[in-house]
């Protein structure tokens, strides 16, 4: 029975591609599916593009492909990546330039058509309200502040690019799992309405899209995480998928990490809402019938995914400017570390109030006490800390106030509580972004999707 092996690439813009080498060298993969775009990454890329029209893609694809291409070419391994971001053609130009310098050859495909930021009026005139899908709010409230708006495309254009002979497929926004589902559809010849097989493919794609999180990384637990061996050389997950849809999850031999029922089920449910209706552009997955057969030695066989017909809409996520955040931080040692932080917080609030700045949205956290555990921090530890850092953040519509907030802190060094340390400069204002998830009829998006292949 025919099968194909897909290895995880990056899990976010800035992730490491070092572990991919082992997947290619000894993991027997045919494809690397690389996810460079978190929900918010497009906002970063939009800022890049504002400064330079040739930018707007995830730049790490250039050194990643330049380093891995010779190895991949020798073994016929192809890459599918959403590193195109807001400018997939720009990404291809940059990769092609780097390849030409090295004398590498490759067929590189680009998938476009996901961006709708220039089409808002047109889509609304077609009857698409683009209301917020969780709150129902009217888009008019954020229309003028939009920074990007992109639909999540499915696996079809990726499969098309591969059918056209691409060695590397660079997309903009696609569903993360489509990066794996595209190659599966191309290789295994499944029908586009074979919902149960598509659901198996979606399961695999979802398991691979966060790189090391399926193979022992971020294994959320008390104590058990420390039993994961060799984080230093953690291997990224690999899925071998058969024609019948059965999937074997594993990783390259000799690498660190762990592929087990435990590590995989943590990733399976990660960032999922209703596990009985996990939506993608290509199929709706029911995880309630999945069967995990953990065979030991980092091999888990997965079958049983339930599939239902794909939706008539595609999800769109837009981002909009949502004010500014000012930040300040200062640390204190024992004695009275927490109390000194609290006293400082009150001083800072007073200084802000004297200046007439808004103080109704100031957030106070104590690093070393409750900055991660929040109200579930253990209060018994509060008054006996070795050291504690005060972190304060404030929300404002005025960038100048956000810039000024951080400048309130240095004064505390000589005129506040004793034994302050760890002050290393003033933090700049940070732009805050709101996310706007919405739905659009797919027949308004898909006719504009284009795939073109170019040889370097």
């Amino acid at each position: 029975m025919k099968s194909v092996r897909i290895g995880a690439g990056l899990g976010f813009y800035g992730d490491s591609w070092r572990p991919i080498r082992a997947s290619i060298e000894s993991g027997g993969v045919n494809y690397i599916a690389s996810d460079h775009l978190a929900e918010l990454t497009l906002a970063i890329l939009q800022k890049d593009r504002q400064k330079d029209p040739a930018a707007g893609y995830a730049r790490d694809c250039v050194p990643m492909l330049t380093e891995l291409r010779p190895l991949a070419a020798a073994r016929g391994v192809k890459f599918v990546m959403n590193a195109g971001g807001l400018n997939p053609h720009g990404a291809r130009e940059a990769v092609s330039r780097a390849f030409r310098e090295k004398g590498y050859r490759a067929k590189i495909a680009v998938v476009t058509g996901d961006s709708i930021s220039e089409r808002i009026d047109e889509l609304q005139s077609e009857g698409e309200a683009l209301a917020h899908m969780d709150t129902g709010a009217d888009m008019a409230g954020v229309r003028e502040k939009l920074l990007f708006a992109n639909a999540y495309l499915g696996a079809a254009p990726i499969a098309e690019a591969l059918a056209k002979g691409a060695d590397i497929v660079i997309t903009g926004r696609v569903a993360d799992a489509a990066l794996s589902l595209g190659p599966l559809m191309h290789e295994l010849g499944w029908r586009w309405d074979d919902w149960d097989r598509l659901a198996q493919g979606l399961t695999v794609g979802h398991l691979l899209e966060c790189s090391g999180q399926a193979s022992g990384g971020n294994f959320g637990s008390a104590g058990e995480w420390a039993k994961v061996q060799n984080f230093l050389h953690l291997g990224y997950p690999i899925a071998e998928v058969s024609e019948d849809g059965a999937a074997l999850l594993t990783k390259a031999p000799g690498t660190g990490g762990k592929v087990s029922f435990d590590t995989l089920r943590q990733q399976l449910l990660y960032e999922v809402h209703d596990p009985h209706a996990y939506y993608s552009p290509d199929v709706v997955l029911d995880m309630g019938t999945l069967d995990f057969d953990d065979r030991g030695n980092d091999e888990v066989r997965i079958t049983g995914a339930g599939g239902a017909k794909r939706p008539d809409t595609l999800k769109v996520v837009a981002g909009y400017h949502d004010g500014w955040m000012g930040t300040g931080q200062i640390g204190f040692s024992w004695p009275d570390a927490y109390l000194k932080c609290e006293t400082s917080a009150n001083i800072i609030k007073g200084l802000a109030a004297e200046r007439g700045w808004p103080t109704n949205d100031i957030h106070v956290e104590y690093i070393g006490y409750n900055s991660l555990l929040g109200a579930n921090a253990d209060p018994a530890q509060r008054d006996n800390l070795n050291e504690c850092f005060l972190r304060m953040t404030m929300r404002t519509t005025d960038k100048r106030i956000a810039e000024g907030f951080g400048r309130l802190f240095p004064w505390l060094g000589l005129s506040g509580p004793p034994y302050a340390g760890g002050f290393h400069g003033i933090q700049r204002a940070k732009e805050l972004l709101g996310l706007w998830p919405t739905l659009v009829r797919r027949d308004l998006i898909e006719p504009r999707v284009a795939v073109d292949v170019e040889a370097v």
């Binding site: 929900e39 918010l40 906002a43 969780d134 999180q213 971020n218 294994f219 959320g220 637990s221 008390a222 058990e224 435990d262 089920r265 943590q266 990733q267 399976l268 449910l269 990660y270 960032e271 999922v272 809402h273 209703d274 596990p275 009985h276 995880m287 309630g288 019938t289 999945l290 069967d291 995990f292 049983g304 981002g319 949502d322 004010g323 955040m325 949205d361 957030h363 956290e365 690093i367 900055s371 991660l372 555990l373 929040g374 109200a375 579930n376 972190r391 953040t393 404030m394 929300r395 805050l432 972004l433 709101g434 996310l435 998830p437």
Partner: protein
């Protein structure tokens, strides 16, 4: 007996827009039955009252010995407009593992210790 979830279960959390979502996993079937009974929407709403401003949802998955928990309106509007240090809610799962529930003392993980 009162037992901290960290002793009998594992968990990972993530974010989608303004939702924090948590997968809570029993190490064994008897513990899963206890989790299903004890980790209720009411208890979760109380445990996360400081951050969760919307409804709590729970989806039990018998095949995975897992509860999928969704905290709506829990991230100050979303990671990129949040003022929190943990803007992505990655440690929300650690907060959950601090919850104490009523559990029989003969659960496999407890008997082992």
């Amino acid at each position: 007996m009162k037992v901290g979830l960290w002793r009998i279960a594992h968990a990972r959390s993530g974010d989608k827009a303004d939702r924090a979502d948590i997968g809570l996993f029993a190490y064994d079937a008897p513990t899963y039955d206890v989790l299903k009974r004890e980790v209720t929407r009411e208890r979760l709403a109380a445990h996360f009252s400081d951050i969760c401003k919307g409804p709590v949802e729970i989806y039990p998955l018998d095949n995975l010995l897992a509860l999928k928990i969704v905290l709506n309106a829990a991230l100050q509007g979303g990671a990129a407009r949040s003022l929190r240090m943990d803007n992505l809610g990655k440690a929300v799962a650690a907060q959950l593992l601090r919850m104490e529930i009523e559990a029989p003392s003969d659960l496999p993980r407890l008997a082992r210790a």
